[in-house]
Assembly symmetry: C2
Homo-oligomer: 184 residues x 2
DNA sequence: GAATTCATGTAACTTGTTACATGATTTA
DNA sequence: TAAATCATGTAACAAGTTACATGAATTC
């Protein structure tokens, strides 16, 4: 897919600036999708030309202008029809650098590999903590707003994230154990 | 990273044609890295220009020629130095379409979402079976050749693949349960 | 006063996909 | 003899990254 549908979906909740989208992708959605500003603004521009979104400049007191994007009817339709058509092959295209490096593990020393896996494991543990922060954020949002619906689905994806990271941690432990007792 | 290092690493084991690389990426390595022929041949061309690989045409009886690539000294060095430098951030750049779709789950019906998650779960189950086939393949290779070393690391990555897919299946079950008892 | 965040972009480049083209060899 | 696999590419496009540029507002 492309960033496009992520943007379309977020704008379905509320109008936002490019910067807001950027913040959303790189904080609360960071564990499933991220994007650089340069890509977001470029995409937004293309989407506006195609009539999927429209922008209006909002003047603010003591602050400078914000270019706020909202969904057009057409954009909303395109998003909804995309949601109706889940792709046949749902497997994320895997392009997993860490796996490739482990696969070529014989070209570095046992100690070096173990060091890298330990580092990896620590990072995964940090990721789980970050995800828990996001989880709290989601729960707070749910209390404040009338967003119980989105909250539920957001939580589903957070749970998925946590489960998959836990699997990584378990694997790392097993791998470290195997490497430690390996000889040759 | 780029395809480049995957190619470099495979050529470190043995000389291969573009087609061989394609087969390897899309069978035994398919769960961690894949690539289309068009990309592989393009990459190979660029790598040859940069002196990382060299090609020679091998004539065969009753078959047409094969353009076989092998690592140059320079290519080998570049690969080894890449192996020495694991990136700081080892998290794969997540761009997870399935999660995004679940996240926007409120825009389709409960039944539709459940249907998609069931489909997803089945696919993951098939993936595990495929991975088990690859596992058997790896074990056979290890017996035939003197490749115990690569076999060990290959198996490490296969185990990682299986663990992570199992986590997906568990999540799917939990999600289905939550969706079934959800109301609103 | 310095650093960070807010805010919006452009340009060049890299990586990956899709569609197309060609043609021999092997297998069902 | 039809389909699949072997084998090698080109061209155009889509998606993502890096580097750069600008400057106001806010926080330390």
């Amino acid at each position: 897919m492309s960033l496009k549908f992520g943007i379309l979906g977020l704008l379905k909740y509320e109008r936002m600036t490019g910067y807001d989208l950027q913040k959303t992708f790189n904080s609360s959605l960071q564990f499933m999708w991220n994007a650089k500003g340069s890509q977001i603004y470029r995409e937004l521009k293309a989407m506006e030309q195609r009539g999927l979104v429209s922008s209006s400049v909002i003047e603010q007191e003591n602050k400078f202008d914000r270019k706020v994007y909202s969904l057009t009817e057409q954009g909303s339709e395109e998003f909804l029809s995309w949601m109706q058509k889940f792709p046949q092959d749902l497997n994320a295209p895997i392009r997993d650098e860490f796996s490739i490096r482990v696969f070529f593990g014989e070209f570095i020393s046992n100690e070096e590999l173990r060091f890298e896996i330990i580092k990896y494991k620590k990072q995964q543990e940090e990721s789980i903590e970050e995800l828990n922060v996001i989880k709290v954020l989601a729960e707070q949002d749910a209390e404040k707003n009338d967003m119980e619906q989105s909250f539920f689905y957001w939580l589903l994806t957070i749970k998925r994230g946590i489960k998959s990271i836990q699997a990584e941690i378990e694997w790392a432990e097993e791998a470290l154990d195997l490497l430690q007792h390996k000889r040759g």
